[in-house]
């Protein structure tokens, strides 16, 4: 553990605003065979920051998140999450990140509790039973803890997916279209959970929902054809320019 801490401190980096940089991407490109999915992507996100990632389908948003979450290796460029290289310290990084995607990443033939116990064992979560009680209560599923996930509605499954993603107390959360399929009640629970953990986490969220994406973010980015078409801090955000680029790139209007 002390060695890991030393590694962390060695790589700790400050953004121009003085905040510690949590995610740093420089010159990142990704090819699948001859197809170029991402081209020279560079950005930084400070600790506690919230990046909302917009773009049309096929723009490379999910590939970018998969690279940041160690699931896919980059073809070129460097990536650093929590000061660590995902491909040299992949296990250390995976312990610090969580993913909420439109796929729940849950086993349908296991109960809610069995799913959380399984992932708890994978992450080596301390006091697992107490943590499961706490999370199931937060996502309002404690009354369904012994029921198979197969019997859950889409909204309930997604709420359990949120509990799964938060189980190991990650410091960085990747949200891949997290609102997809959620009913209004589930959206309320999700957003109130986000509010609760907002201060202690760094977020990267893929979304098509401009209103929610811009309301939550500290930085906004539009990806188009694997390249950054727009990237600004929320404080400096030129909303007209954002809307114009979004309309052109995402909606295909000219």
């Amino acid at each position: 553990m002390p060695k890991q801490m030393a590694e962390l401190l060695k790589h700790e980096k400050q953004s121009p605003t003085g905040a510690q940089t949590e995610i740093e991407v420089a010159g990142l490109s990704k090819y699948f065979g001859k197809r170029k999915v991402l081209t020279k992507i560079s950005f930084e996100l400070e600790k506690g920051g919230f990046l909302s990632l917009f773009g049309p389908n096929g723009a490379g948003k999910t590939t970018l998140v998969k690279i940041l979450s160690t699931l896919v290796a980059p073809s070129e460029g460097t990536v650093s999450v929590a000061g660590l290289d995902p491909y040299k310290n992949s296990a250390a990084i995976r312990a610090k990140i969580g993913l909420i995607s439109h796929s729940p990443l849950l086993y349908l033939d296991l109960s809610a509790e069995e799913n959380l116990k399984f992932y708890g064992a994978m992450y080596g979560v301390d006091n697992l039973d107490a943590r499961i009680d706490e999370l199931l209560e937060q996502v309002e599923l404690d009354h369904r803890r012994y029921d198979l996930v197969r019997t859950f509605s889409k909204g309930m499954t997604q709420r359990l997916a949120i509990a799964r993603a938060l189980l190991h107390r990650p410091s960085v959360l990747f949200l891949d279209e997290p609102h997809t399929g959620l009913d209004p009640h589930a959206v309320d629970i999700f957003e109130s959970l986000l509010d609760t953990i907002r201060q202690d986490h760094t977020f990267v969220m893929i979304t098509h929902n401009i209103e929610r994406g811009l309301a939550l973010c500290s930085k906004a980015m539009i990806l188009y054809n694997g390249q950054i078409a727009f990237y600004q801090n929320k404080a400096d955000l030129d909303k007209d320019m954002f809307n114009e680029i979004y309309r052109q790139k995402v909606k295909g209007e000219h």
């Binding site: 979450s69 312990a95 993913l99 796929s103 990443l105 849950l106 033939d109 994978m122 992450y123 080596g124």
Partner: protein
């Protein structure tokens, strides 16, 4: 200790899912019984030395039955992106292999525990109590090899479009050495051959198992990652 808990959690998860769905073990058991019935009807009346060829018939049925199960073993992981969830956890990749392999080994062994007595009844074969232990040990040793190679190759095939076709194409050529040794050992036991020959085949199977466990341990990170 943590590694042991992670491997155990994967096996437990697969067993629980199988207890709920019963789709893998029941399908494998039905297939192997049907295959043995077909073999007994096709060859039982025309072959005089069934104790010699019985080993071959038994392993042909077991091999195709195991492919049926191995093809299914990663389906739950692909459902709802669970493999992605597993890969995002800080578990060492080879431990995923050992967890999945032990689950497959367990399911194969359970099915064969029911299938072997049925085989002896259908083919009217007999085995002394002293030889039954060696016979079962041979089957278990061979299962370790089948589960190791099968788990490794089904991980590769799960990410291909033609995964149902891909597994047999990859699996059969690699498993042939083990198949030859397993047929020789079990055939030898059934026909009352010298035990030194049987033990030689069993040693070969054990070496094959160790080699493929080490190969899987070394390659699994690469195989499962992208």
């Amino acid at each position: 200790m943590a590694a042991g808990k992670q491997v155990f959690a994967i096996v437990k998860k697969d067993v629980l899912a199988e207890l709920r769905t019963k789709e893998m073990v029941i399908a494998m058991l039905l297939f192997v019984i049907l295959a043995m019935v077909v073999f007994s009807q096709a060859f039982g009346v025309i072959l005089n030395d069934l104790d010699r060829v019985g080993g071959g018939l038994l392993w042909v049925a077991f091999l195709f039955m195991s492919m049926l199960g191995l093809n299914r073993s990663f389906v739950h992981e692909k459902d709802e992106g669970c493999l992605e969830g597993l890969l995002m956890s800080p578990i060492d990749r080879p431990l995923i292999f050992f967890g999945k392999m032990l689950g497959n080994l367990l399911f194969l062994s359970i099915v064969e525990l029911f299938a072997v007595p049925i085989f002896f009844v259908l083919f009217r074969l007999e085995l002394g109590a002293s030889m039954a232990g060696i016979f079962l040990a041979t089957i278990f040793l061979s299962n370790v090899g089948i589960a190791s190679v099968g788990t490794l190759l089904s991980t590769i095939s799960i990410n291909t479009k033609t995964r149902d076709l891909m597994l047999p194409i990859l699996f059969l050529p690699v498993i042939i050495p083990l198949l030859i040794a397993a047929v020789s050992a079990t055939g030898g036991i059934m026909s009352g051959e010298e035990l030194t020959e049987v033990y030689r085949s069993m040693r070969f199977i054990a070496v094959y198992d160790i080699i493929f466990l080490l190969v899987a341990y070394a390659l699994y990170d690469y195989v499962i990652s992208e």
